[in-house]
């Protein structure tokens, strides 16, 4: 559709960079069940890329393939111009790919601050011995990382709950803390698995604003899965539509919205 190496300008005037990640003919099976069937798509630098589809379409599986939690039986993952070998999730994270989970995976027993600090673990280089004796470099690192974390906390407006144990927070705030932890890692690519699931209208508006701000201010590339069609259409630059493990649409929101296959599969029969 577009030249891989070129950047281009979207319909609403945003400039999108070159291809950063490419999924090539991904097939994922669980025993006899095919979760993803021969899907290819790309993610460009600086864009917000949405994956939508009805329940059980394989959206979360796709995100898990990107983040290394699942390994596809067929197909290749290309990241920053090179084929990515099969990697464990923590190795993927160390490549600058952060994520959130559909069902929130936070460290419930720790404070908000500690949770967000874990996002910085990969930016701390000092070895185990100097850490153990809290020697110069380790201390400097801690201070630097703490500063980054405080910025993220300010940015997402969760200063008032910094010291609160996560287990005491309401659902909407937990989602925000999870986003903060992912952001603290200073990711190149941010994967959001249904960031607005289970939220009320106000919380959804807040979250949409944060996602746009993150993309805007840090230039972070974002891949997100979402059920709420309205939200997806507003936020994303390009949309992949999945149904029963297959890709049935790919393009800018307006184009996808008018795609007959998408309307049939995702929205059911049109009623006007």
């Amino acid at each position: 559709m577009f030249d891989q190496a070129e950047s281009f300008v979207t319909a609403d005037g945003r400039t999108i960079g070159a291809v950063m990640m490419e999924m090539k003919n991904i097939t994922l099976r669980f025993g006899g069940v095919v979760a993803i069937k021969d899907i290819s798509f790309d993610v460009r630098e600086g864009e917000i890329r949405a994956i939508i589809g009805p329940n059980g379409a394989g959206k979360s599986s796709m995100l898990n393939v990107i983040s290394g939690f699942y390994h596809p039986q067929e197909g290749e993952v290309w990241y920053k111009g090179a084929r990515r070998p099969e990697m464990k999730p923590f190795e993927v994270a160390r490549q600058g790919i952060a994520r959130t989970f559909q069902n929130i995976a936070l460290f419930e027993g720790m404070s908000v601050l500690d949770n967000v600090m874990t996002g910085r673990l990969n930016h701390m280089k000092s070895g185990i011995l100097s850490q153990a004796i809290w020697y110069g470099k380790a201390e400097r690192e801690e201070t630097e990382n703490r500063a980054v974390v405080e910025r993220v906390i300010d940015f997402l407006e969760i200063q008032h709950i910094r010291k609160t144990p996560v287990s005491r927070l309401p659902y909407g705030l937990k989602k925000r803390v999870e986003l903060a932890r992912a952001l603290a890692a200073d990711p190149k690519l941010l994967l959001l698995d249904e960031p607005m699931a289970g939220m009320n209208v106000e919380e959804k508006e807040d979250m949409s604003r944060f996602i746009l701000d993150v993309n805007d201010e840090f230039g972070t590339t974002i891949v997100l899965i979402e059920h709420d069609m309205g939200v997806v259409m507003d936020l994303s630059d390009r949309v992949v539509v999945m149904d029963y493990g297959k890709k049935i649409g790919d393009g800018p929101p307006d184009e996808v919205r008018n795609n007959q296959a998408v309307i049939d599969a995702y929205l059911g029969v049109a009623h006007d």
Binding site: L121, S126, Q131
Partner: protein, 333 residues
């Protein structure tokens, strides 16, 4: 001034506290591994034994596997003929425990990720008996004396300082100096462990893994590395416990059985709480000594120390299954 019975009771209490410290040390090793990986490590006691055997072996310059070597090659080697100073030997023994942690992770538990807890538990039972046999083969099965220079015997200072309490025919409290050292070492160990978990990168990663494996992976923590780290820490705690027990009663294979006293300690303190392990250890130590003194010896014919802790744990299991400090079990419907 005070009746002798009362003063003797106080002495029993103090000795119970000291014994409790040793239970707590072993229990601590269990808690570390259980928290981080959900594995109940039956082998923790044997690890203490193995650590103590290794320490003695290194200090005395024993040739490891000497029986095996002699049987295979018809040689007659037993000792290298050197003695390693205690401090260096402790460092070497620690290195061996780290190596052991690595072997345990890479050859056993790496292949059992995601298995049922009962399977992990069975694996640790296998590990326990393997290590017992391996320790036997490596260092021999005879009872060994362990002397790393910790003062032993009653403290005359305490005895004299307390003698006045009971008037003229009272001899003062008898408290073993080794127990005092053990208590101090245990306190330092706990402070260090808590500081490590709270304020270092690896400690934070360790707590993260203990809390949620999936989330830990997503922020780039290697579970394997953390598990090796945790087994190493448990090995370190086992070494300290092994030194204390070994110095007290000699390094012998019954050490691994004494270590099972950590089970009731854990039931009291909760399997996931470091302070719980300490308090549980103290309660068991004091409880069994006082029970023996007040009820066991006068009314039940003595020897209650063998089962009192388990009885206490049973009562706890019925009324507070999560232990004193364990996370409360709430079923949401």
């Amino acid at each position: 001034m005070f009746p002798d019975q009362f003063l003797f009771g106080v002495e029993v209490l103090l000795n119970g506290l000291m014994a409790g410290v040793l239970y707590a040390l072993v229990a601590l090793g269990f808690v570390l591994i259980f928290k981080a990986s959900g594995i109940f490590n039956y082998a923790q006691g044997v690890m203490a034994l193995f650590a103590a055997l290794t320490l003695v072996g290194i200090m005395d310059g024993q040739v490891p596997f000497s029986h095996l070597i002699n049987a295979l090659f018809g040689t007659d080697v037993h000792h290298f003929g050197w003695h390693v100073p205690a401090f260096a030997a402790i460092l070497l023994a620690m290195a061996v425990m780290v190596g052991l942690a690595w072997i345990v992770q890479y050859f056993i538990f790496r292949h059992l990720v995601g298995q049922e807890p009962i399977i992990l538990f069975m694996a640790t039972i296998g590990l326990a008996y393997f290590m017992e046999g391996f320790g036997d083969m490596m260092w021999g099965s005879e009872i060994k004396k362990l002397d790393v220079g910790i003062p032993q015997g009653g403290s005359f200072w305490i005895e004299e300082a307390t003698a006045f309490l009971g008037g003229s025919n009272f001899y003062g409290f008898f408290i073993d100096q080794l127990d005092i050292v053990a208590a101090v070492v245990a306190i330092i160990l706990v402070v260090l462990l808590v500081a490590f978990a709270q304020y270092t990168k690896q400690g934070r990663a360790m707590r993260a893994v203990a809390d949620d494996h999936q989330a830990a992976l997503s922020v780039g923590i290697s579970l394997s590395f953390i598990w090796v780290l945790v087994w190493s820490l448990a090995g370190f705690v086992a070494l300290v416990a092994g030194i204390m027990w070994g110095a007290k009663s000699g390094v012998q294979f019954s050490l691994s059985l004494i270590a099972l006293k950590a089970l009731p300690v854990l039931m009291l303190g909760g399997f996931t709480s470091i302070p719980g392990a300490i308090v549980g250890g103290l309660i068991v130590g004091v409880g069994e000594k006082l029970f023996e003194f007040l009820i066991g010896a006068p009314f039940l014919g003595g020897a209650t120390e063998n089962w009192f802790a388990y009885m206490l744990a049973l009562v706890f299991l019925v009324f507070r299954p999560q232990g004193l400090f364990g996370e409360k079990i709430i079923e949401r419907v």
